[in-house]
Amino acid sequence: MGQYNDLSGKGFKCLIADDSEFARKNIAKIVSGIGGNVIGEARNGMEAVELYFKLAPDIMLLDITMPELDGVETLRRIIEKDSNAKVIIVSSIGHKEMVWKAICLGAKHYITKPYNPSYAGMVIKSVFKEENGGQE
């Protein structure tokens, strides 16, 4: 597990929104691997918006294709109220258009599935760090 014990992003609160349990579990391991705490898991967009405002996470990992509200719409609702939301889009290859929209709307970063775990960890950490006074 070596490098995943690096706690430089220690203790950040993370919300995961994905309709696939497998995907949620998979990325949750990475979050905890870099010292984050998964404080909530949402299975669809509606739940994601609700949990975001209830739990006020530092980072949100958001899937693009979800029932009820897709990732873009979910992001839109979150950004509308919290323009500083640190949202990372996690999506499979092939949804370029949606990821594109999300980035234009203000998503901070994106990770494509399948991802390399250490790469994904690095990206999540970098987005969290920027919040803590990193240069932007």
């Binding site: 696939s20 499979s92 370029k96 980035i103 234009c104 709307l105 775990p117 970098s126 240069q135």
Partner: protein
């Protein structure tokens, strides 16, 4: 598979594996249900959407889990679904069958891999999908890409570079290598572009964000103008997980810049250009270098039609021949003239049909031009960090090929300006109660014998006061004139050379570019451009173009003994006047017409035609936008369709003639170039009064005198 999970313990991996398979089989069941639902109600869009979502989830999970065969197949199924969704027909039995076969195959693959066996081959099913999606062996998109790559630099890019240099900005060539593990390089490029956009202006970036090679590329190259130093850019452009190396080179104006590796260079036969060789005004120079598409794709049936008509011409000719022979044989035939007339009218009909047929062949749907824009809009809006949707209406509208070849560049100019200066960024739009996504609408349609092409946006509109202020600052107008200028006229200020239409001109961005070049390009197509704008609501550019460049409807008239014609589209009114109706103001003739003072052009003087002046004369009122000028003529002969023939260089030299034509009786008529005469009238005025501010409104000055 192992690679992605090496950070997990065995137990953890086992759990993840269990979750994966359980969920995957659930999805298979859901998929089967939804596909059957679609079969019962083919118009049910929701069923299709659910299917798409399930497939997508399965694809993502499978790829993550390392089961790439399922991932690959799912990816193709997504294409299949897009093709069903995008098609005009609803899902039919054929597509349902195929979808079900796909699901069966996926199920087999899952079962196989779970029990540790090879899941089988997906080649067969993928071939079936390919065949379903594109039954034709010719891949379409590749042709489009070549077209878009175009010349080494577009006019717009050239103007941007000139502008940057004038503004004392640095121009850099930046090469950014992407992080080897970042997926979707197109999005990576978007993020980099967004970041850079806050620091300066991207003049271009390679590869095209939308091109297929973007996903295989490892780096992007940009031409970038900014006031920042190399170090500052290097520091601020770095994004973790996106960029790995940033290499910046100064690109001083003296060194020729080759947009390396573009096949476009070869295709267009252009050599690498240096900045300095570019003209001040975009299209005029470039117009000469425009490589027209000289081949024409014609429906085979149209050619057959032509063959038939040619055959009929031969019949007509033999009818004439027969009469001639009879006459030669000394046979006195009573009905010779009747037979000749009959032959003539027979041939006349045929010739008219041939002419129409050939004109039709020259007509090309404007979609040939429009289809490059969706991609351009996507690229550009992302570079600018804006959300823009392009709506296209009337892409089937047909235009003369001569116009099609030239209209692309001015249109793309207008669209670029709309994205640059019209559409606000998403945050600003939200705060003004607009939808975050701006809309640019591209429309083409017929209207009273013309083709109208409109480009409208729902952006912030043109700031007319700002425009006036800038025109005054730059010495185009006096303050008094600016105040008196009506809104309708003031908006035309954007067509002045070197006037920005953005509300703020900063060091790094917001330079209004080359609407004057757009105007002259449209005019060179015998067209007219107008602009309307409502502050806060948007802007609309309207291009009025002739149906064809080869045949025009013209008004025939004479001056002295010489016959002239002018395209009727340029004439807004014809008035009959007496000599005493003309007044002289500042040594120039003007006419009070419908409460407006109109400058009068004397073609007689312009063309040095001798002869006295009649007391009773006609004046043609020419109108472009709200501007009017009067042209004095002697006699009017009504309108006629003329086939335009090009003039020799000698005749063309005055620049006031658009061409010539031969009438039925053999007389030659010169066709006036209306926009050129307009320009001439305005230049004359400038020369006479030595006043700069008359450029726009020849008549304003007379009002105050």
């Amino acid at each position: 598979m192992i690679n992605n999970f090496e950070h997990l313990s065995n137990e953890e991996f086992e759990e993840l594996r269990r979750v994966f398979y359980t969920q995957a089989y659930e999805i298979i069941e859901d998929l089967q249900d939804e596909i059957l639902r679609l079969d019962n109600t083919p118009e049910d869009e929701n069923a299709l959407k659910s299917i798409k979502r399930y497939v997508h989830t399965l694809k993502g999970d499978s790829n993550s889990f390392g089961l790439t065969s399922v991932g690959t197949l799912c990816h193709r199924v997504e294409d299949l679904l897009s093709s069903i969704m995008g098609g005009t027909d609803h899902a039919d039995h054929k597509s349902i069958d195929l979808l079900l076969s796909c699901v069966d195959t996926i199920n087999g693959l899952l079962l196989g891999s779970e029990s540790g066996k090879d899941g089988g081959d997906i080649k067969g099913i993928i071939e079936r999908i390919d065949l379903f999606i594109s039954p034709s062996p010719i891949p379409l998109p590749s042709g489009e890409r070549i077209e878009v790559r175009g010349a080494p630099f577009t006019e717009y890019q050239q103007l941007q570079i000139q502008d940057a240099l004038k503004g004392g900005l640095n121009i850099y060539e930046i090469e950014i290598s992407f992080h080897p593990m970042c997926g979707e390089k197109g999005i990576a490029q978007l993020m980099v572009s967004q970041r850079l956009n806050g620091m300066g202006q991207i003049i271009y970036s390679i590869p095209d964000i939308e091109s297929s090679e973007i996903d295989e590329t490892e780096k992007m190259t940009l031409l970038f103008s900014s006031k920042l130093t190399q170090e500052e850019i290097k520091r601020d452009a770095f994004i973790t997980g996106i960029t790995s190396e940033i290499d910046i080179k100064d690109n001083p104006p003296t060194s020729p810049f080759n947009k390396g590796g573009e096949e476009g260079d070869l295709e267009k036969g252009a050599s690498p250009r240096s900045y300095q060789s570019w003209g001040e005004r975009g299209f005029e120079r470039a117009g000469q270098g425009v490589i027209k598409n000289e081949t024409l794709r014609v429906d085979a049936s149209k050619v057959d039609e032509m063959m038939n008509l040619a055959g009929e011409l031969i019949i007509g000719r033999s009818m004439v021949e027969q009469v001639a022979k009879d006459l030669e044989d000394g046979v006195l035939i009573q009905d010779a003239s009747t037979r000749l007339f009959a032959a003539n009218s027979y041939m006349e009909r045929t010739v008219t049909d041939i002419q129409k047929g050939i004109m039709k062949m020259r007509m090309v749907p404007i979609s040939h031009v429009f289809r490059r824009f969706p991609k351009m809009v996507r690229e550009l809006s992302s570079e600018k960090g804006k959300l823009v949707r392009l709506e296209i209406h009337g892409k089937e509208t047909e235009l003369d090929k001569g116009i099609i070849d030239f209209i692309g560049e001015p249109l793309s100019h207008i669209i670029r300006n709309s994205i640059d200066h019209g559409i606000e960024n998403p945050a600003r739009r939200r705060s003004t109660g607009k939808n975050e996504e701006g809309v640019i609408a591209l429309k083409a349609y017929h209207e009273s014998g013309q083709i109208i092409v409109e480009v409208s946006d729902d952006g912030k509109g043109i700031d007319i006061d700002g425009l006036k202020k800038k025109a005054v600052e730059r010495g185009f107008l006096s303050e008094g004139d600016a105040r008196r200028l009506s809104e309708g006229d003031a908006i035309n200020l954007i067509f002045l050379s070197g006037l920005s239409i953005s509300e703020t001109v900063t060091e790094t961005s917001g330079r209004g570019i080359g609407m004057d070049a757009v105007k002259s390009a449209v005019e060179s197509m015998k067209g007219i451009i107008e602009v309307e704008s409502i502050p806060g609501k948007g802007t609309r550019f309207i291009l009025r173009l002739p149906l064809t460049l080869a045949i025009i409807k013209a008004l025939l008239f004479d001056i002295g003994e010489r016959l002239y014609a002018i395209p009727i589209s340029a004439v807004s009114e014809v008035a009959r006047i007496m000599s005493e109706d003309l007044t002289t103001v500042d040594g120039k003739d003007v006419l009070l017409f419908r409460d407006k003072i109109i400058s009068i052009i004397h073609l007689r003087e312009l063309f040095r035609i001798d002869g006295g002046r009649n007391r009773k004369r006609f004046v043609l009122i020419l109108g472009i936008g709200e501007k009017r000028i009067g042209v004095l003529i002697d006699r009017l002969f009504g309108q006629q369709e003329l086939v335009i023939k090009a003039l020799d260089e000698d005749y063309g030299r005055s620049g006031l003639m658009a061409g010539a034509s031969i009438l039925g009786d053999g007389r030659v008529v010169l066709i006036l170039d209306a926009p050129a005469i307009f320009k001439k009238a305005i230049e004359d005025e400038k020369a006479k009064f030595k006043v700069q501010n008359e450029t726009l409104m020849p008549s304003t000055r007379h009002k105050e005198t």
